[in-house]
């Protein structure tokens, strides 16, 4: 009995290995498309390659990047998290309220304020996680509900008004620089590295792929699937709140209406990056390229002064086009 379980686990692992190899291969497709876009943009607009602009793109990508990393964890298990934009707003205003004198909560050190904001995100993620993992309510439904609940809580908490007068020290999270690199970009980079280690160098990471690949067989092979599923929503909540903290520090205000429709860009980044919406297949590096691709599209269309109307059409077309090219290439 024990032997067979072990054998199964090995099988799952080898399946994962080939799956991740395939996913790695498909990364290059998106990567080539990404490079092409960068080359075209730098020819059309030499300003694009200025170091300052590259920092702009990275800084503008960092928030969606964080949400996309969390979304990758969730989608790899075969779930979805529609509540990231609302949790971002909630985490952002909670952190803001402890870093400003506007709500009578006192000005706390940046790490304390940010810590409370992160806890808020973890808490909401955990609520979704319990409902999905333990009570088996579909993730789409739970996080759709949470999208509305977290947004409502944000408005209740702030009384619908922005939280002004954020403490200067707190603003470092969004506006600070270390060795010329914007702090949001550093947060994004460190989060990526940590997540990469978690996903690819730990048993936990392998279990995430296993649960997404085939939940039943993962369970049979002794994986605590409930725990795995629960934790990915906690991670997504945590990273959403982290995005909210950066957004608050970047805009110098806790904005209750921030982050609306951000879930769409996060899901788009994951899908562009080649992660399968049915779970079990995909790679974190693809997601990062996906997020950068969206950032470059937004930035490039601004630089080229494309009108707002066209911008939306072009963005949608590039998203579909990138995935289409990738799937055509895979067929060959």
């Amino acid at each position: 009995m024990i032997k067979s379980a072990k054998k199964k686990r090995k099988e799952v692992q080898s399946q994962n290995l080939s799956a991740s190899l395939m996913a790695k291969f498909s990364d290059y497709g998106i990567f080539i498309i990404f490079l092409l876009l960068v080359i075209i943009l730098s020819i059309a607009k030499p300003n694009f390659l200025r170091p300052q602009n590259i920092m702009n793109v990275l800084r503008q990508t960092s928030i969606n990047g964080l949400l996309s990393i969390g979304m990758t964890f969730v989608i790899l298990t075969g779930g979805i998290d529609l509540s990231v934009g609302s949790i971002l707003a909630f985490g952002g205003v909670v952190a803001a309220s402890f870093a400003s004198d506007a709500m009578g909560k006192g000005i706390h050190p940046p790490m304390v304020a940010a810590g409370i904001g992160l806890l808020a995100g973890i808490l909401l993620g955990a609520v979704s996680g319990v409902l999905i993992a333990k009570w088996k309510v579909p993730a789409f439904v739970v996080t759709l509900g949470m999208l509305s609940i977290a947004r409502g809580l944000t408005f209740i908490y702030t009384d619908g008004m922005p939280i002004p007068r954020i403490d200067k020290a707190f603003l470092f999270f969004g506006q600070g620089e270390v060795l010329g690199i914007p702090f949001p970009v550093i947060i994004f980079g460190v989060t990526y590295l940590l997540s990469w280690v978690v996903l690819y160098k730990t048993r936990y990471g392998r279990y995430i792929y296993a649960v997404g690949g085939n939940e039943k067989s993962a369970k049979v092979s002794g994986v605590n699937t409930r725990l795995i599923i629960f934790t990915v929503y906690v991670i997504s909540g945590l990273l959403s709140a982290l995005g909210g903290i950066i957004l608050t520090a970047r805009t110098t205000a806790g904005l209750p209406q921030a982050g609306q429709a951000y879930e769409l860009d996060a899901i788009a980044a994951v899908v562009i990056g080649g992660t399968s919406l049915s779970g079990g297949q995909g790679a974190l590096s693809g997601t990062i390229i996906g997020a950068l691709l969206i950032g470059v599209i937004n930035n490039g269309l601004d630089l080229l002064s494309v009108s707002s109307y066209f911008q939306q059409v072009i963005k949608g077309a590039i998203i579909i086009g990138a995935v289409l090219l990738d799937s055509l290439r895979k067929k060959e």
Partner: protein, 336 residues
């Protein structure tokens, strides 16, 4: 279980209607007024509803206000007017999301005999009792004029627009363009929407500062939030905000603070005047000539028994001289 739920629901509906009927028969001591606003997610609408609830006649209990959140959706607002009609409201204040679609909601109210006063944003309807608001064309003109003045009458400006197609965006743009037409030496480098959002305007301005390095002299933000986003981008690029001429509209709290630091110019839209003035006009119609209007705004403009079709609430430019007083007033209104 299901049957039980249905029974409870029916019982609730019946008692609800009985109760509503009862309240009406008990003599018109309390006037039920519905305030249908386009969306409570906007800071300005929060200020507007807070000011409305502080109207002396609401505080005294003569008027009971129910606020309907239109959630930025014309069909939601239409449904809310249908609710007011069936619930027999005495009057409605209306801040429509859409200038054309709002007309159907006003018609619904009229069929039910409910007088409607428009406030803040316009609606294309002859059935409106009156409208109390501020002229967005004028504010667009004023802010553009101020930016042009700040940059010395010539140079390059960028315009950050509201959501394309909203009446405030259309009218503020008309005002912007009118002022710019008077100054052919001022060139518009870029014009793009940031959907009233500070975060969107921040990214947009970062990108513009890169594509037009050293060329942008002024920023016309069609609201304060977007002007604040532009300021953030300029500071982030380590440029001096005071080298730019920047203006916004609305007078949100953060903009007042920025005016105080001499970073921008803002024009206050008077939410208290629009909300409380609108209620006065409505009550004058419902109660009759014996009604005495209570809003402060009537010290500046003539009430005339509430019979005018349009009341134009003046814009208040926020200056270093009046900013402290305005901030104190705001503090009082936003006490959490």
């Amino acid at each position: 279980m299901k049957k039980l739920l249905v029974c409870v629901a029916i019982a609730l509906i019946i008692t609800g209607t009985l109760f509503a009927g009862g309240a009406q028969e008990a003599g018109k001591k309390t006037y039920n007024i519905g305030a249908a606003v386009y969306g409570l997610q906007a800071e300005y609408m929060r200020l507007w509803t807070t000011a409305l609830e502080r109207h002396p006649d609401v505080q005294s209990g003569l008027v009971k206000i129910t606020v309907f959140d239109g959630k930025y959706d014309a069909s939601v607002q239409q449904a809310q007017f249908e609710t007011m009609a069936t619930q027999g409201y005495d009057g409605a204040l209306f801040v429509p999301i859409d200038i054309e679609a709002g007309a159907a909601a006003v018609a619904t109210a009229k069929r039910a005999g409910i007088p409607v006063v428009g406030s803040n944003t316009r609606v294309n309807s002859d059935d409106l009792l009156s409208y109390v608001g501020s002229d967005d064309r004028l504010s667009g003109y004023m802010e553009a004029k101020s930016v042009i003045e700040q940059i010395g009458g010539k140079g390059n400006v960028v315009i950050i627009e509201g959501p394309i197609g909203q009446s405030a965006q259309i009218e503020r743009k008309e005002g912007n363009m009118k002022a710019l037409a008077e100054h052919p030496d001022v060139k518009v480098l870029e014009m793009r929407t940031a959907n009233w959002s500070r975060a969107e305007a921040l990214s947009l301005m970062e990108n513009w500062l890169n594509s037009h390095p050293g060329q942008i002299d002024g920023v016309i933000g069609q609201n304060d939030e977007m002007a604040l986003g532009a300021i953030q981008a300029i500071e982030q690029a380590r440029l001096n905000v005071k080298d730019f001429g920047i203006a916004g509209i609305d007078g949100v709290t953060d903009a007042m603070l920025a005016v105080k630091e001499n970073k921008m110019v803002s024009i206050l839209q008077d939410a208290t005047a629009q909300a409380q003035g609108g209620l006065d006009i409505l009550l004058a119609k419902i109660i009759g000539p014996s009604f005495v209007p209570k809003a402060d705004v009537w010290k500046h403009i003539d009430f005339n028994g509430g019979k005018e079709a349009i009341y134009n609430v003046p814009w208040v430019p926020i200056t270093l001289e009046n900013v402290d007083a305005l901030l104190a007033e705001r503090q009082e209104l936003t006490q959490r």
